[in-house]
Symmetry: C2
Subunit: 117 residues, 2 copies
DNA sequence: CAGGATCCCCACAGATACTG
DNA sequence: CAGTATCTGTGGGGATCCTG
């Protein structure tokens, strides 16, 4: 249970999409800002996540050009529509996660399988 | 887009957990009933999914013994609490999926990557 | 009927190194 | 700064066959 995402029984799109959505909730962010906010995500994976989000219309990439480069990512309205879902998931997790964990611990006869949850 | 689940940008627990939750919504079901309802899931995977759901306290397995065997699976209250979430996801999908697909099609410059969504 | 046992594959993700 | 390129592995999920 080292990785916090492994304790969340839900996934939206790619593994990190939900986290990125949350990071963009309060407005546009630069690539490096996202990296800092998500230290567990490598640049490659973050890039892939953002590309997928772009492709699906969840996020918009804006290249402000110049040197050094300046790129910003922002949620589209469609991306914002995910926030409600993410919040519902968070609320569920806050409310029931310990119940799940307790049940797992009790049920330790079952050999570990470490699912996404 | 052959597999319907590949069009759903959300996952709960294992890949098929959400579907199983829905199949159990209206009451207990036998293993074979679940198999029939979920033709795309192999027995092995369904078993794994159900074991994980048991382990997490989402479902309860009841062996009525006898021969031929008779086993039933039912949602626990915790498992039922997932229904609201699953419904929220379904509603989101019903409302926005075509938007996502349209955006993808438009954006066909981006090479396919076939994410979970 | 309700599965267990095996074998296999590849998509996801991580590490590391390099660049306009 | 904002990525790309490359290599690698791992485990979730599928196919197939077998059994109490």
């Amino acid at each position: 249970m080292e990785c916090p995402t492994s304790a969340i029984p839900f996934r939206i799109g790619d593994k990190w999409t939900a986290m990125v959505v949350l990071c963009l909730e309060d407005g546009p962010r630069r690539f490096t800002e996202l990296r800092a906010a998500l230290p567990r995500v490598t640049a490659k994976v973050l890039t892939e996540t953002l590309r997928a989000m772009e492709r699906d219309g969840f996020a918009r990439r804006t290249d402000h050009g110049g040197n050094p480069p300046h790129v910003e990512y922002a949620l589209t309205p469609l991306g914002r529509s995910l926030l409600a879902l993410v919040d519902a998931v968070r609320e569920w997790t806050a409310r029931h996660l310990d119940e799940v964990l307790a049940h797992r611990a009790a049920d330790s006869a079952v050999p570990r399988r470490d699912t996404a949850l």
